[in-house]
Amino acid sequence: MSDKKISVCIVLEGSYPYITGGVSAWVQDLIQNLPEIDFKLFTISPEIDQPLRYELPENVVEHRDIVLNKNKKNRDLKKKQKKSLILAMVDFHKKLFSGSSNPIKSIMESYPEEYYPYRDSIKNNNAWQLLTDANRMNNPLYPFSDYFWAWQSAHYMMFTVLGAPAPEADIYHAVSTGYAGMAAMAAKIRHRKTLLLTEHGLYHKEREMEIRKTRMIHGYQRDMWTRMYTRISRICYDNSDRIISLFEENRQKQIALGAEESRTEVIPNGIDIPRFSVKHEKREGFHVGLVGRVVPIKDIKTFIITAKTVIDRIPESIFYCIGPTDEDPGYYEDCKLLVKSLKIEDKFLFTGRANVLEYYNFLDVLLLTSVREAQPLVILEAYCGMVPVVSTRVGNVAELLNFDERFLASSRDAEKLASSILYIHDHPEEMKKITAENFQRVKDRYDIKLLHSTYLKLYRKMAGRSEE
């Protein structure tokens, strides 16, 4: 048995340790509860010197940050080597476009660290021809400069992450596909280690939703970006040794996109059951809480409108928005204005960062109005506190709510959400039974200790130390 600790390099994009949220909390919890593992962080950030939102545990022994859009010193390669690499990339792209089988491994094996071939790729005749041909095929009627900048934007980031030198580790653990997945894949191939991929949501689906909403990207560019992210996810699946999703529906989607079924597995989220098992005490009034950041993805505005509907019916209701308000100040102001315009300021409270346990112990309903979620831990936390849940039907929520349509609504359906809340209000005896069942389900499937032990076993197996 080796005395050396297993080292796991966690590769993240736009989350831990700079952004708070479900994924970041999950990572922090995993690191804290596996002290026998040395963790190294390899993060991808949009800007330099972002403040840390989490105190890094002691077993984080290294942290390397890749800043996109920052000029990097390019490694000097021999002309022949550069040409060979770029031709290999051109060939790879051609196969990608034609849908042929296309191992990226051979390219990555000859792709050195700290080499960023953006300029070299444009200078190369074959690569430029590929770019202009693709433009003619996909975008013949739009200005070439639009296409070029879109290509540049995507590929500059790609080259940055592929060329970034990763810390040495036994296992590379990417917490999404996308650029983090690509960086982890590059590190795995270069260092000849293993790659573990855990997807909380489906990266390419999330990006697709964002792309479709934004006004900055239009027409053919939407398809271009969407296709690119889908292809990146597929490449990550092809090169991952294990692919974890939080629930079965996502696992099926991974398989549908090309993930090899034998490599996929479901490891659901877990929570600290003793910690969240607070004694529920009925308080005067009817208390409905949403635990989450005040950001558009949580759709607090629908929460506010739902609150208005319920308050009109149940005047003693009080609504709590429990979570940080500083992540999107503009959106927070909009929400406050909405509360004011609906004249529910005395019944609707923004608590800011708070100890959620203090709220679980008296909430009558936990409401979730998110437009996008994976497997929200807040639902499991509420179950531990014997709080019933009403939610939009996103991610794995339906499974967590036992597919009970009485408590599920489509995104932005404030009316249905309100009627679900009213149902809970009107059926207290039935809700006691349901919350007890929910709590049992949490104990059976979503214990955090199970999560930690599963990942520890997985790390040991992937590092070739199963006997430990």
Partner: protein
Amino acid sequence: MAGIGFELKKVVNRGGIFSISQVVFSGAIIVAGPWMISILNITFAQQFLNDFLAGNSEYLIETMVYSYALSLVIFGGFHYPFTRMLSDMIYEKKEKEAFVQTIFFSIIIGGVSFILCRFLLSFLEIPLERPGLYRFSAALFFSAVNVLWIMMLFVSVLKWFYKICLSYAAGAAATQIFIKVLPAETGMEWVILAFALGQIIIILLLLLFSQNEYPGGKERSLKPLFKYLKKYRIMFFIGLFYNAGLWIDKMIFWIFRGTSNGGTILPLYSAYDTTVYLANLAVIPGLIYFVTATETNFYILLKKFLFSLRSSIYRDITIKKYRLMNRAKKDLIDQSLIQAVLMIILILLSPVIAEQLIRSTTPLILNLSISAGFFYLIFLTCLNFHFYLEAYRDAAWVCFIFFGINLSTAIVTVAFPAIPPGAGYILACGISAVYSYYSLKKNIRFLDRKIFINAGAVD
């Protein structure tokens, strides 16, 4: 010079013999003004002062020739980044600042060149009655020539071609007056001083015109100048190799075949020198066509191409790019045809010219020089277009090849006397013309790509 070209184009478009004559005259001044005036001065000195100065004009000729040659070879490299700075400042409507930088640069170059020349002359024995005066006058002349190049860069960018003509005419007249006023008949030192003062008159007139037009520039530091010299240091090498390439064969012949006539200091090789100077004047018609047609057409089509990059589909960008390339080729051919016709005429007349005008040469050397001029014009045109495309590295290579071939063939010519002088120069001009043409084609072909790379400029 595209700006001046557009002005001349407008005049041509008026039609009529008078307009064409005006363009020919103005064009000649613009394209070859300083060089032409210098040649005329030297020719005048050689032909007419000889009797006046009892056969001692060689000192003047040497002083002038070496001054022009060394001013370009030593300091010519600086002219290019300096011109770039002027163009940028004038584009940004900062003419006053440009003028201030011109003054600063002139002071530096004038001072350095005076000190350098005076220092070098101190090692030479001057067999004249007043060697100290000679050294001073020669250094002053050298310094004035250098400052005049710089002033010309400024006024050329501003398109003041009538003011340039006026200043040069005044300078020439002033030279003659100074010769009369100073005791020139007592020694060449005074004649050289008169020429130096004539150059200074030109400088003062150009300064006066500039000061009237752009008084009160606030920039008081040399930072802009040094910034450009650093940023565009590749342009220094273009200037260095180009000017060295033009003069290196002559210098080699001065050293190995030159003679110091009449006990003078610095050798010249008059069999070749004068031939080349006058043969270079023969490219003026081609240069006028270049300024009025070739360059202006290139500029217009280049601008259209650059605009297309912003908002056109790729097919249109490609069309405009190849339109630029094809038009450049067509204009180059037309320009070369005009020059070829003149070249043939001069070659046919070369025995007469050699016998009557340039007595020290032979028809063969003259023919070689005239033919070299044909290729030189192509080389110069293609080199000029490299600047439009900001292909400075390739331009530097083109000039280096020009310099390298001219240097090596000059050495070979000296080693093998059967090879006539000028053979190496025509080879240098010919190969440089071909290389620069293909370099230009390559740069145009990759122009869209290069612009997108540099615009992205993230690494």
